[in-house]
């Protein structure tokens, strides 16, 4: 469960103070699929960065799994990002001089898994997004859709409970965009919480819950979206084996730190 309580994010821009987030309170249950929609500059990216522990709120509290995030140290936050959160960015954010395979393997190295287990997990993730044949390619030599699928593979290879997508379809044509969305729905169907940032209403409307944000404030919280999305066979199977909801597990912070 994610919970923001009266969160502010302020930036100093010259003499002016910008309210990127202005008293935002929001709570997202485990296993929800939430889209956060708003025009550019509305604060939705800032919101995502705070939810993903990449950034901290100026005021207010963010509870992750019931624990206030500001109580964590920098390395604890790194561990939380590694264990619980997967990011999918609009610009893919793959490292150009590494192959797709190496990009996907990277979070597992930081987790300290042995090589054999890493290989196994990377193979699964590659197969899941259909990039096994392309694993030796560098990001620059594959299409945008394939890059985004690699980024999703990197996000899901750690088996996170929360996946944050920042305009994941923004740089893609509508057909590949749809494929990416389907992947995200599959992941949600496995019980993972999905938070999707977008400026595109048509994409936001596909989500069961839609939060509209404007000038740093939440102006709409609409739970009237499609209750359930059609599940792919893979997702169906995953639900049967994993269970419908994956509880957020607070990582065993001591000892696991690198």
């Amino acid at each position: 469960m994610l919970e923001l309580v009266e969160v502010y994010k302020l930036y100093q821009l010259g003499d002016e103070v910008i309210h990127a987030l202005d008293n935002v309170s929001l709570s997202i249950d485990d296993g929800e699929f939430v889209s956060i929609v708003g025009p550019s500059g509305s604060g939705k990216s800032t919101l995502m960065h705070i939810l993903g522990c990449l950034d901290t709120a100026t005021y207010g509290t963010y509870y992750l799994g019931g624990q206030p995030v500001q109580s964590y140290s920098r390395s604890e936050l790194a561990l939380i990002r590694n264990l619980q959160i997967g990011f999918v960015f609009q610009s893919f954010n793959l490292i150009g001089r590494m192959t797709l395979e190496e990009n996907i393997e990277m979070p597992l190295i930081y987790r300290g898994l042995p090589a054999s287990e890493r290989r196994e997990r990377v193979e699964q993730a590659l197969n899941r997004v259909g990039l096994w044949e392309r694993r030796k390619h560098t990001p620059n030599s594959v299409s945008g859709g394939q890059q985004q699928r690699a980024a999703i593979a990197r996000a899901l290879v750690t088996e996170p409970t929360l996946i944050l997508g920042d305009e994941p379809t923004g740089n893609l044509d509508s057909k590949t965009g749809t494929q990416i969305m389907e992947l995200l729905y599959d992941l949600n169907a496995e019980g993972r919480t999905i938070v999707l940032i977008t400026h595109d209403d048509s994409i936001a409307r596909q989500a069961p819950r839609r939060v509209r944000i404007m000038d740093g404030r939440i102006i709409e919280d609409d739970r009237s979206g499609p209750g359930k999305v059609a599940l792919s066979p893979v997702a169906q199977e995953a639900i049967e084996t994993v269970g419908a909801t994956l509880p957020l597990v607070r990582p065993a912070l001591t000892g696991a730190l690198i």
């Binding site: 960065h49 993903g52 990449l54 950034d55 920098r74 390395s75 790194a78 561990l79 990002r81 590694n82 264990l83 990011f87 954010n93 793959l94 490292i95 001089r97 590494m98 990277m106 979070p107 190295i109 930081y110 987790r111 300290g112 990197r154 750690t158 730190l257 690198i258």
Partner: protein, 398 residues
Amino acid sequence: MMNILQSFRMAFKSIATNKMRALLTMLGIIIGVVSLVVLVSLVTSATSSVTSQISSMANDMITVQITDSGTDPIKLEDLGQIESLSDVELVAPSNSSSATAKVGTDSYSVSITGTNNAYFHIQGYELEAGRYLLQSDLDNNAYAVVLSYEAAATLYSRTDVVGQKLSIDSIKYTIVGVLADSDSLTSSFASSNSVYIPYTTAMRISSSGWAGSVSSGISTLYVGAANETAIDAAQTETEAWLLARFGDSDAYSIRSNDTMADTMESVTNTFALLLGGIAAISLLVGGIGIMNIMLVSVTERTREIGIRKSVGATDRFILLQFLVEALVICLMGCAIGVLISTVCLAVVNFVVEDSTYRIAWWIVLVAVAFSTLIGAGFGLYPASKAARMNPIDALRYE
């Protein structure tokens, strides 16, 4: 452990993708290491050859210079007292002056030394022909002379001159012996046409104008220790005797060839230190080059740092990654530098005849240690700069 292994893999990968830049960065370290290793190796090789020559000299010899004999100069008769010291075997007086020798109508400048039989044994001089000066020569104030090999060669162009008469400062001497040639360092010190006459003869002729010093006593003493191990004891005993005699440690100076070797060594060590210091500065400059490139690299890879942090890299891992990269560049430069140094010395040995310059491995160790230190030292700032970055600031960096 695993982190470090992974960091090394990442470092090699990053260096491999930027080969040219890495090589140029290494260049500073390479030049530094080569200059350090080659210069110090050259100096230490030269040092060891000089010191081995010094120690090949009669190293059971103690030299005493009487600088201020005052009213009671050391006479020939006093030498018996020194000789009776338990660790002393031989004592020789030596008063030298320059003189003119005449052979036919040609004049030569020679160095003339009044001494005794022990002198030749202490110095380790061998005979080419004839005999040394004998005690009987001293007893009789004989006009006998022993020529050094060089003197015989210069004056006569041959060495079988025993029995010939030689006029030195208008006094006729009979040549009784010629010393053998030797290529040791001592003989090259003494190579200037030396001739040796009995001390007593030198004393007698000094009253007619030659070397006023003789009448004021013996100016230089050579003391031979009973054996090489007794040299320190012999020196201590002789010094005690001299102090008792003069009551003033400023009246004389005493040294052994050991002290000479020590002095020589300290001189060359200073030299090595100086050259090493200069080379170390160039290594330092190389280190600053590494820091420069690492700072550029951190800026260039800001986004990568952001990505790595977003998937869970801790500050420590990022620090390690950049630190190890700096270290690897440094150590690779060091390895290449050592390789080039070996080649350089081989070339010197090939070009310069009779030279056996060898790489001084201790300086290689110093170079490696220094490079590691530089890599770590100058890598630390860029690495910690990378590690301290905020994930979101790094990720948004364009």
